[in-house]
Symmetry: C2
């Protein structure tokens, strides 16, 4: 079994997508994460769900979640909505990281190792310079554990 | 909105659970991760799905996923099944890490910050020394984005 047997089309977001729309896409389609493409349609970043959430959480709370407790409940409830118009471009981390990207020939072991190493429940599959889709952890496990 | 409004019961695994059963639980119930409890029923570790996968991937592949390509397809396909009887206890990382655990009073912002910081799509909720359940990223987003 190879990546080509497991890949499926996957929703993408661009740098100009509002963060709130990215969060909504994640929630509504129950996705494990999102693929952010650049202006050429190539994967620029692959964000696990927790890191999409990170785009919305104020920095001082990320450093010390206990500090979030000083924010009262009404304001805490509204933190996602306060994003109003902020785009993925403005919220994306600038530090480079290893992207979970491979090709259609990758074996299931390669995909699993890449997911484990990059802590990403999805791996983008590039085929001859084009984004073909993604393999999700769920799809991988379903196939590996099938009777 | 507080953790108590979002918490739900969540499957647990013990140190004696075979890794293959843990992977099956994750896949069959489409869980974002697993809570591993110790002999006193307290959360010992909380593993995102990718880290449950990590329990099964040979170390040399984790360090360099490209090395996995030297394993032929038939053997790669069988890597999960080769776990045969290996328990969570034997596979769990020993390095301590910050656990995504909080109490029923935590606000949604606190939970979101904890998920972002620990890269965990689930947070365990402890209530007066007992594990009450977990809040998932999906449950959090669904409630925050509800019209």
């Amino acid at each position: 079994m190879r990546a080509r047997d497991l890949v499926s089309t996957f929703p993408i977001v661009s740098l100009d997508t509002p963060v709130i729309d990215a969060a909504r896409l994640l929630a509504e389609q129950d996705l494990p994460g999102l693929i952010v493409i650049d202006d050429d349609g190539l994967p620029l970043n692959i964000l696990p769900g927790t890191q999409v959430l990170r785009l919305a959480v104020p920095g001082y709370c990320q450093d010390d979640p206990a500090l979030a407790r000083v924010v009262d409940e009404a304001h805490a409830d509204a933190f996602l909505r306060s994003l109003a118009g902020r785009t993925v471009r403005e919220a994306l981390p600038t530090a480079p990281r290893e992207l979970p990207v491979t090709d259609p020939d990758a074996t299931v072991l390669e995909i699993a190792a890449l997911m484990a190493r990059t802590r990403s429940p999805l791996v983008a599959i590039m085929d001859a310079g084009h984004l073909r889709g993604a393999v999700t952890l769920q799809a991988l496990l379903d196939r590996l554990l099938a009777p």
